[in-house]
């Protein structure tokens, strides 16, 4: 399995500010994804983080709100921009290792926007 770490693990932010979440994988992976999970709900895919190119966003998510970077095969960041209380959620990074069609998840970042 891949070991995935995320920073920060949790944060409380003020409305209108931005937060960048970091995701580090312990080995090279082909695919990296960002999900959002509301309390008690399932996982909703925000975007696929592509190395060296723009992320691929799912319907309902846009780059201006959730800019994503992936400078190399083991690291990605998700920024939640101009936050509102509706952005309060758990944000999860996920990675799929080369030749293994299995996604592993990080521990998540718990965000509360006041």
């Amino acid at each position: 399995s891949a070991v995935i770490s995320q920073k920060p693990s949790r944060d409380i932010c003020q409305r209108g500010t931005s937060l960048t979440i970091q995701c580090q994988v312990d080995s090279q992976v082909t695919m990296m994804f960002w999900y959002r999970q509301q309390p008690g709900q399932s996982l909703t895919l925000i975007a696929t983080a592509n190395q060296g190119s723009e992320a691929t966003y799912e319907s309902g998510f846009v780059i201006d709100k959730f800019p994503i970077s992936r400078p190399n095969l083991t690291f990605s960041t998700l920024t939640v921009s101009n936050m509102s209380p509706e952005d309060s959620s758990i944000y999860l990074c996920s990675a799929e290792r080369r030749l293994q069609e299995t996604q592993y998840f990080g521990p998540g970042t718990r965000l509360l926007v006041l």
Partner: protein, 112 residues
């Protein structure tokens, strides 16, 4: 359109019982079906997975049953324990660098 339908939404069983969680999918292109276990405050952890060329896979107390013709698969937990209390998600994947499609989850409580 929900591509993977999971039921029940919640489940309570006695210790030693066999909870069963069911999932149904629509896209016949899916060819990999994992189950994830998530404890409160943690990320989902891969529990067990199956491909459609087999009808059953067992790992320890966890068993997946797969019915390709019915496009259904289920998770059985044998001799369930209070430590199995968690939320379980089924998922489906189509080969080719595509993301997982998740069910809505089942919150399992195993009571002593």
């Amino acid at each position: 359109q929900q591509q993977v339908k999971q039921s029940p939404q919640s489940l309570i069983v006695q210790k030693g019982g066999i909870p069963i969680i069911n999932c149904a999918y629509e896209n016949t292109a899916f060819d990999y079906f994992p189950w994830y276990q998530q404890f409160p405050g943690k990320g989902p952890a891969l529990l067990i997975a199956i491909r459609p060329d087999v009808s059953e896979k067992k790992e320890g107390r966890f068993t997946i049953s797969f019915n390709k013709s019915a496009k259904q698969f289920s998770l059985h937990i044998m001799d369930s324990q209070p430590g199995d209390s968690a939320t379980y998600f089924c998922a489906a994947l189509r080969s080719g660098n595509t993301p997982l499609v998740f069910g809505k989850g089942t919150r399992l409580s195993v009571i002593a």
